[in-house]
Symmetry: C2
Subunit: 130 residues, 2 copies
Amino acid sequence: SFALGRHITIEYYDCASNVLLDKDGVESILLKAARESGATIISSSFHQFEPQGVSGVVIIAESHFTVHAWPEHNYAAVDIFTCADNIDLDTAIHSIEAQLSSQRVFISSDQNRGILQPGFGGCTPNSDEK
Amino acid sequence: SFALGRHITIEYYDCASNVLLDKDGVESILLKAARESGATIISSSFHQFEPQGVSGVVIIAESHFTVHAWPEHNYAAVDIFTCADNIDLDTAIHSIEAQLSSQRVFISSDQNRGILQPGFGGCTPNSDEK
């Protein structure tokens, strides 16, 4: 069988809360991680909540990065959906870790999405980007 | 312990491929599902791929809905991240199922995100929307 995509969720605890307070900062962190991973950025959309908190998504040619940040808990939830072998997930995960100054990081799930039977073909960076 | 959010991933196989071909149609499907679930829509961003395929995200006050659609495989990957008890996930899941005419749907993961120790408080729709 063949999977169209891979979807991982990452927990970033004990982050620097001042970083998580700033929408533009969180957006630049995700964009930098996406670039460093080799992703092709298509668009990004981030929202600041009151009294604090940031939600955002970066749509990439190979799927997406999302983040939800709770500064009051020094916590950010990230997920990365990728449909291409050229994305370096380790680089993305560690880039975000360093930029958030997170002291406790773990991958809480790592799953294949869109599992097809043999012979269906699938997504490659050059023929069918998602 | 207390979780800040709940994150589910849903696989929609055997969808009507003509529905998945249309960016505006896929966007309206996700927006309708979000509204019907009780979510507060903040923004949406959708992208059409060539030769086919749609990626998109709806940011809601309570976190997000995302979709990646492969019309050539009659498949759509959806995830819903919610940080509020007032979101009716069953309604959202079934709304998307009906609108995509999916003949094979399942929840491939359902996890708590941002697990805190007792006494930390957390996210409620009225005090700390994400």
